[in-house]
């Protein structure tokens, strides 16, 4: 399992020596059903970490364990050097933005945002100043006196965010907060959320099933599969160097090539190229954009393949072609060249573009 590399690559503030949140060997069982197995994960101060996974991967359970709504069957949680998992949810220095916002319907926007400050018995003057600031930050001042049912989904989203952030949590948990919004608003909120996070400098743990959303927003992605971490890395690394076949397929499109290395030569069906990998069975992930239509002159060291264009999907800026080679191999090729792709075409890729990946464990 590969983890993060240098801060420059991470594109985050310099990492603090000790992590803010430390999840140590957390496991969760509901009866005989194992939902999480042995999760260890750290979140740095000011980091935007996304827990990405399909439904049933255990991502929401992990978030609820951090928030305190579920308790782990085994393992420990530490925050800022203090034990977290033995505290009830209302004593934890974390706040949550819920999937369906969970705004209190009987309270106004203002009262919703001030709720956390009020229950902690802060002076009224301070409550109202902080509520005002929080509402201004999410541009909801105009709706301060409205009931949640009178404002739109996107606005409710902002209120939920303000309600959590106004308490200055050490860590903000977000449970698929954008899933209820339509596509355009969703993209807009992704940008807003990300810049808000940079502004306030609070660590975010964001749960989603949407890999694109994860790529756009995160400093690091923790990919969860069947209750286990598949890979934890920056979006760039997880895309360029996926550790496993599952990661390679879940994040973006890919071509999975399975072959064998013998004496420094890889053989995948009819294709072959030189490698430094040791002898044995091997799998590669080859991104469709790394395969190019071959010109008349072969690029030095490039692997050539020849095949029929079976299918062609227009995506706007690019096209995704499905190529069928004679030997049973099917390739996806992403190209910016538009044209009439009929009949046999020649394509090529550089051996370095084929990233060796581990085979993921089979599904049950």
């Amino acid at each position: 399992m590969s983890t993060s590399t240098t801060p420059a690559e991470l594109n985050v503030r310099p990492a603090v020596s000790s992590p803010l949140l430390d999840i140590r060997n957390v496991a969760k069982r509901f009866g005989n059903n194992v939902v999480l197995r042995d999760i260890s994960l750290q979140v740095a101060q000011g980091e935007f970490l996304t827990i990405l996974g399909e439904s049933g991967s255990g991502k929401t359970t992990l978030l609820r364990i951090i928030a305190g709504f579920e308790s782990a069957t085994s393992g420990e949680l530490w925050i800022g050097g203090k034990r977290l998992d033995q505290l009830p949810p209302y004593r934890r220095p974390v706040n949550t933005v819920f999937q369906h916002y969970a705004l209190f319907p009987h309270l106004t926007v203002e009262q919703n945002v001030g709720y956390g400050l009020q229950v902690s018995k802060l002076p009224a003057a301070e409550v109202s100043t902080r509520v005002e600031q929080a509402l201004a930050r999410v541009k909801m001042t105009a709706h301060a006196k409205s009931k949640p049912s009178k404002i739109s989904g996107g606005q409710q989203q902002r209120v939920a965010l303000a309600r959590a952030l106004v308490n200055h949590p050490q860590l903000l948990l977000l449970d698929e907060p954008l899933s209820a919004l339509d596509a355009n608003l969703r993209r807009q909120m992704q940008v807003e959320l990300k810049s808000l996070q940079r502004e306030v400098g609070i660590s975010f743990v964001f749960v989603t099933h949407d890999q694109e959303e994860a790529m756009v927003m995160s400093d690091r992605i923790a990919l969860l599969r069947m209750g286990q971490l598949e890979q934890v890395a920056t979006p760039r690394e997880i895309y360029d160097r996926p550790a496993t076949t599952y990661t390679a397929q879940f994040i973006g499109h890919t071509n999975l090539l399975r072959g064998e290395v013998r004496g420094g030569i890889v053989r995948c069906n009819s294709l072959s190229w030189k490698t430094e990998l040791p002898d044995g069975l091997v799998s590669f992930s080859l991104r469709p954009e790394k395969v190019r239509p071959a010109g008349s002159a072969t690029t030095t060291g490039a692997v050539r393949l020849r095949g029929k264009v079976r299918h062609q999907a227009f995506h706007g800026a690019t096209e995704l072609l499905q190529i069928e080679c004679g030997d049973g191999l099917t390739f996806f090729v992403r190209t910016t060249n538009r044209g009439d792709w009929r009949g046999d075409e020649e394509f090529e890729f550089l051996p370095a573009a084929a990233v060796p990946v581990r085979e993921s464990a089979e599904r049950n």
Binding site: A67, G68, F69, P88, P89, Y90, R91, V94, N95, T96, F98, Q99, H100, A102, L103, F104, P105, H106, Y115, G116, V119, S120, K147, S149, R163, A164, N167
Partner: protein, 282 residues
């Protein structure tokens, strides 16, 4: 969308039913309340407001009405005090045994009202279960006389009978509270007690109002419990109505009292519905 004939077929029978069995009898009652009885015990169909005058000027009528309201109010409070915690426990803490407990609350409703009232008679009487026990353990020397044939007995019995009616709407409103609101409250630092008073209770107010209305209206109009267990001091307004329509043979006065009760209850239902709307947020 639907044909005129279909709409008529669906709406006319219930309308007819309501008119024939509800509105017309009320109208008749309303008319009766302005008629009078001749010395020869026949109904005189001449209009007079003498019945209403009598209601205001005869202390026993409005005093009994006030007492009935006081009894009904106490029943309401006690049923809320018993029904709310029960509903709260069931909704939030009963877990998988929820359905079982729910049935246990409902089952008494299947037992006849009379049986339950008589059961209290056996318990509270001077040779009853309670007095025998108290004397057996030497807590009292003589049987406690206030237990039976008193407003106390009526309040106790009516509370027992109507608590399920307050429980049900409260339980329903608690069940409708999205559990993520409770989690959100905890998440924002509110302790369980703060969460109850700031989130759960306000959101259950419609149920509380509906339950309180049930208990108040049903016990206000009750005449069996006071008749069986009330004694002379526990008489309620409906007992007077029963007498007026029966032995006393003064239907016009009975109708006048009934009409006042009707106005009172409808007014109460109206207010309670307005309040419920104000407190519901779904």
């Amino acid at each position: 969308m639907f044909s005129r004939a279909y709409k008529a077929a669906v709406t006319v029978p219930p309308l007819l039913w309501v008119t024939v069995f509800l509105l017309l009898p009320y109208l008749l009652m309303f008319c009766y309340s302005f008629w009078s009885v001749s010395p020869l015990q026949t109904i005189l169909h001449t209009w007079t407001h003498a019945n209403y005058d009598k209601l205001v000027t005869t202390p026993v009528y409005w005093q009994t009405l006030l007492r009935s309201m006081w009894i009904a109010l106490r029943v309401t409070l006690f049923s809320l005090v018993l029904g709310y915690p029960l509903a709260y426990f069931l909704s939030f803490y009963a877990g998988t045994r929820k359905d079982l407990f729910y049935q246990l609350v409902i089952i008494p409703l299947w037992v006849s009202y009379l049986v339950r009232a008589y059961a209290w008679k056996t318990i509270l009487g001077s040779d009853g279960v309670l007095n025998t026990l108290l004397q057996y353990v030497h807590l009292t020397q003589q049987p406690l006389e206030f237990l039976l044939y008193s407003p106390f007995a009526v309040v106790l019995t009516l509370t027992h009978i109507y608590t399920p009616f307050t429980f049900l709407p409260i339980y329903a409103s608690l069940e409708h509270i999205p559990r993520n609101l409770v989690e959100a409250s905890h998440d924002l630092g509110a302790s369980p007690i703060q969460t109850f008073w700031r989130v759960i209770f306000p959101l259950s107010i419609p149920g509380v109002l509906a339950g309180a209305t049930f208990a108040f209206v049903l016990s206000l109009g009750d005449f069996l419990a006071p008749q069986l267990l009330g004694g002379p001091s526990g008489i309620m307004i409906s007992n007077i109505v029963v007498t007026l329509f029966g032995a006393a043979y003064d239907w016009p006065l009975g109708a006048a009292i009934s009409f006042c009760m009707l106005v009172l209850v409808v007014g109460l239902l109206f207010v309670s519905e307005r309040l419920e709307k104000r407190w519901s947020f779904s």
